[in-house]
């Protein structure tokens, strides 16, 4: 006998009140028939169990010692669809012993009925829990029609082996449970709508689920939503967007719109089609935002090419605010955008524009103020010799200045350059180089020109 069967038997008779057990075998010579005591088996309205007075006829303290027998005060906590009267009427050849005794056993060697007897008579040639899904309702009431079962009883319902079959949880159960079929009735034996709500976000749209009665005991059967095998691939996170747009996609079964918003910062079109979490719907898959596999530990340092070439991928989960966390400098933000120790090597990166410093750093606020503190800014007359690698640097700085003008402006202000490059009293060195469009400059902002030329602005 399988463990499941034992459980089932225990369930059928669970809740029988603790009372003195009647030893049938010991009384084998006293009672010639069953219905003498269990009249209710054969006669409508008669009690199924004898009352204590029946025992006292012998057990009166004189003939036999008194016994504390009392009939069960309440009916069994069971969901069995069974009536002795009905069975007696439909199967006149069946005797009590057919179910309550083993074959060839002595008279009144009774025992609780075993499920196999039910299955045998009903033509089901399998173990109890291997019975076809169409057969459950033959012997069992729907859960909602078995009000005497407690939540604990429901929680102990054995799981049929068929429910452990590959693919059953992922979708097979839904196919089998089409509303109105015998299978659906079998589902109702153990399940109510609240059980389905443990997973199904789309419960209101599922006729199979709506066909089930609402019964709060249904979720006593604990179930853990497992991701289907399709979600297990290493590349699933990257490809789920395209998969979700396929006509065959079934995302709405287990995912709410909030599932998408766990990671996605705007609502993708797919998410719009999903249901929001609300009463009457299952909570569905509970997701947490985490780094995708390709965001390796050093991804932050190397994300630029990806961001440049497929920014729409980034935008699925990130907003500009995420970018600005690092790309907008924080006064005390060590170890953000730049790698550790960058302060020591930033001159090379700045000179050759490894990245555009001015995108994130205001030259006045960041570069000049710090260089001023370090004594690097020009003060007073130029020519004091900071650029001492070449004695004639000041006279020949033009190439370096045009190549690295942004770097120059991190230490020098316009006043320094106007010392020589102004047409108003400087040495009148012309600073304009290839591509300079004087006419355009005059048209857009002639005030720039007045810094060097005053009001006598040449037109070419």
């Amino acid at each position: 006998m399988t463990r499941a069967l034992l459980c089932a038997l225990a369930l059928c008779f669970a809740g029988a009140p603790a009372r003195a057990q009647f030893d049938h075998a010991k009384h084998a010579k006293v009672f010639p028939s069953c219905v003498g005591c269990h009249a209710g088996v054969a006669r409508a309205g008669a009690p199924l169990y004898p009352d204590s007075a029946a025992c006292a006829a012998c057990h009166d303290g004189t003939v036999e010692r008194r016994v504390p027998y009392a009939p069960p005060a309440e009916s069994l906590r069971t969901n069995l669809r069974f009536s002795h009267l009905t069975h007696a009427a439909k199967a006149p050849n069946a005797k009590c012993v057919s179910c309550h005794q083993d074959a060839d056993s002595l008279w009144m060697a009774v025992r609780p009925p075993v499920v196999s007897r039910c299955l045998d008579c009903h033509g089901i040639r399998t173990a109890h829990l291997d019975a076809p899904d169409t057969a459950c309702a033959t012997c069992h009431y729907p859960l909602a029609s078995a009000p005497r079962l407690a939540r604990a009883d429901v929680a102990r319902f054995p799981e049929p082996p068929s429910h452990r079959a590959s693919g059953f949880a992922g979708g097979g159960h839904g196919v089998l449970a089409n509303a109105g079929t015998p299978v659906a009735a079998s589902c109702a034996t153990c399940h109510s709508r609240s059980f389905c709500l443990e997973c199904h976000v789309d419960a209101p749209e599922r006729p199979q689920i709506q066909a089930l009665a609402e019964d709060p005991r249904g979720d006593a059967i604990a179930v853990t939503l497992q991701p289907p095998v399709t979600h297990a691939g290493a590349d699933f996170l990257r490809t789920h967007g395209a998969a979700s747009r396929l006509p065959s996609a079934t995302c709405a079964t287990c995912h709410t719109r909030e599932s998408c918003l766990t990671c996605h910062v705007a609502t993708p079109a797919v998410a719009v089609a999903l249901h929001s979490a609300e009463p009457g719907r299952g909570a569905g898959a509970q997701l947490s935002r985490h780094r995708p596999a390709w965001h390796t530990a050093d991804f932050q340092r190397h994300h630029a090419p990806s961001a440049e070439t497929a920014v729409q991928t980034c935008a699925a989960c990130h907003t500009r605010r995420d970018c600005l966390q690092c790309h907008r400098p924080d006064a005390a933000g060590a170890g953000a955008y730049h790698p550790a120790g960058f302060l020591s090597r930033h001159p090379a990166a700045a000179y050759s524009r490894e990245s555009s410093c001015n995108t994130c750093h205001n030259p006045g606020q960041f570069c000049v103020s710090c260089h001023k503190s370090a004594g690097l800014v020009a003060t007073g007359t130029l020519g004091s010799g900071y650029h001492d690698a070449n004695r004639f640097f000041l006279a020949g700085h033009g190439v370096a200045a045009r190549q690295s003008l942004e770097t120059c402006t991190s230490c020098h202000v316009e006043r320094d350059c106007l010392t020589c490059h102004s047409a108003l009293g400087g040495r009148r060195f012309d600073p304009h180089g290839p591509g300079f469009d004087a006419a355009r400059m005059i048209k857009k902002n002639p005030e720039v020109c007045t810094a060097c030329h005053g009001t006598s602005i040449p037109t070419q």
């Binding site: 497929a310 001159p347 606020q365 020949g396």
Partner: protein, 499 residues
């Protein structure tokens, strides 16, 4: 809209924030302790100098001096005194929604900072002490988003901060979107107006009024092809002249799975010059275990027209670069990148000064995950070109102490020779860091690194300089509902509706 009207609108909205049904607040507390050592300009009478090793004048204590014929004093730079800065900052990122009008939300990003050290000049970014980076009300519907207040327009043309309004309309079905914005501008890469004294530490020329900013963008997006056009102009309100006027086009083509070709080009309408241009081909393996990119680009800096720098004709450079990322097996990641670049002719003549006009940079690094707890990484970089160069190794090991604590140690070397100044510094770094994530509600990161620097020069101006740099960061997450700590505030800030 006048400032008075804006103030009134905020006054109406702020009490509403108290009644908001949902909010997210991230508070970031950071602090550093660093010191730095520069140089100090000094002078010495010509008569006090002595001949140095190479015959040039040096000070009596051996520092090379520059003496100009006819002047009584020679100048020189002696090592500056070490200065200490202890910048601390607090950043609050607040989003509230649920004011009774679906789609309406309020966003505030503010930062407070101070330098607790003894440096003569405060650490960059700590003045003024409190800065409002963003503060706007947003009304978002599936087809449009309207923002009002201080905001940053992060368009391809650049980050533009302003106090004003922006609107975006989009049609997800057609893949179209359009954005327009208008307001009083902030300075480039700053939350301060251009009139702020904090942006002018050397008392240079400075605008007296904030500029007006106006911009627009149009975009089309589809699976195989994206294109975006951006335009922005900034106008000096006092003179009505242009501060800048730029336009840019970005396009991306994805002809095959895993392949993309992107191109962008910026044109400076104010100066009639092409700015940055980029063309890039990228490939990514479907397995995610390899990606590579190769690109050609042109870089030319942009200067606003209220400075004279644009008239000095900054020269562009052209470059060829490539990168390769590999994950040969699950535990190992490798990254290699390189670039060569060359400046356009400058048009300047300087026969006595030989300046490099080309350069290159190369870097590789890799990480190896020994186990679920251990991870090792190492890398090397070198960049040699005009002005300054650097090269060095880095390496580190990280150990995950359970799910919540990560310990790491890192070390590195660095050489930073300069081209225009005799200075060949070598640096050793050795540090340790800890990251603690006890829950989704708060986290702690701390780092301590020892720097040993040797500023090598042939004269007495060289020096050794060692220091310990400390940094710490505590991040706190608050929010209504569950999971506030696990989801960035951006999630709550985004509109609901088709993209």
């Amino acid at each position: 809209m006048t400032r008075a009207r804006l103030s009134f609108l905020l006054a109406v909205l702020i009490p509403g924030a108290v009644r908001a049904q949902g909010y997210r607040l991230r508070v970031d507390l950071r602090g550093q302790a660093v010191s730095y050592r520069g140089v100090t300009l000094d002078s010495v009478p010509v008569g006090d100098t002595v001949p140095g090793v190479g015959g040039g004048p040096v000070t009596p204590d051996g520092i090379a001096a520059l003496c100009v014929q006819g002047e009584a004093y020679c100048s020189f730079y002696r090592p500056g005194a070490p200065q200490r800065s202890d910048p601390v900052s607090t950043t609050a990122d607040f989003t509230a929604w649920g004011f009774g009008l679906p789609g309406l939300s309020l966003h505030v990003l503010a930062r407070g900072g101070a330098d607790l050290g003894d440096a003569a000049v405060s650490w960059p970014g700590t003045t003024p002490a409190v800065q409002l980076l963003e503060g706007y009300a947003e009304y978002a519907q599936p087809r449009y988003v309207i923002r009002l207040g201080r905001q940053t327009q992060a368009a391809p043309i650049g980050f533009t901060g302003f106090d004003g309004a922006s609107a975006t309309a989009r049609d997800a079905r057609l893949g179209l979107d359009a954005t327009g914005y208008l307001g009083w501008g902030l300075a480039d890469a700053s939350a301060l107006p251009v009139t702020s004294a904090a942006l002018n530490p050397l008392d240079d020329f400075q605008p007296v009024e904030r500029q007006l900013v106006a911009g627009a963008a149009l975009g089309f997006r589809s699976a195989p092809f994206d294109v975006r056009w951006s335009y922005e102009r900034q106008v000096d309100r006092r003179s009505d002249y242009f501060v800048s006027e730029r336009t840019r086009v970005d396009a991306a083509l994805r002809p095959l799975a895993g392949w993309s070709l992107t191109a962008s080009g910026m044109y400076d309408l104010a100066q009639a010059l092409w700015g940055n241009v980029d063309l890039r081909l990228a490939w990514q393996a479907r397995s995610g275990r390899a990606d590579a990119a190769v690109g050609v680009s042109r870089y030319r800096p942009d200067f606003d027209l209220w400075t004279i720098w644009g008239a000095f004709s900054p020269t562009a450079y052209r470059s060829l670069d490539g990168s390769l990322d590999l994950v040969p097996w699950r535990a190992l990641t490798l990254h290699v990148t390189g670039q060569v670049y060359k400046y356009d002719p400058t048009g300047a003549s300087a026969p006595l000064v030989d300046v490099q006009s080309s350069g290159w940079r190369f870097a590789w690094d890799g990480a190896y995950t020994l186990s679920a707890r251990w991870r090792l990484d190492a890398g090397y970089h070198a960049e040699f070109g005009p002005g300054a160069s650097s090269r060095g190794f880095t390496g580190g090991a990280a150990y995950a102490l359970g799910e919540r604590v990560n310990l790491s140690a890192h070390a590195g070397t660095l050489d930073t020779p300069l081209e225009f100044r005799v200075d060949d510094a070598s640096v050793w770094m050795l540090g340790a860091a800890v990251a603690y994530r006890p829950s989704g509600r708060w986290s702690l990161d701390a780092d301590a690194t020892r720097y040993a620097e040797n500023r090598k020069r042939p004269d007495a101006a060289g020096f050794d300089w060692n220091q310990l740099r400390l940094s710490a960061r505590v991040t706190l997450y608050f929010g209504s509902g569950t999971g506030a700590g696990g989801v960035p505030a951006a999630v709550g800030a985004m509109p609901e509706g088709p993209r």
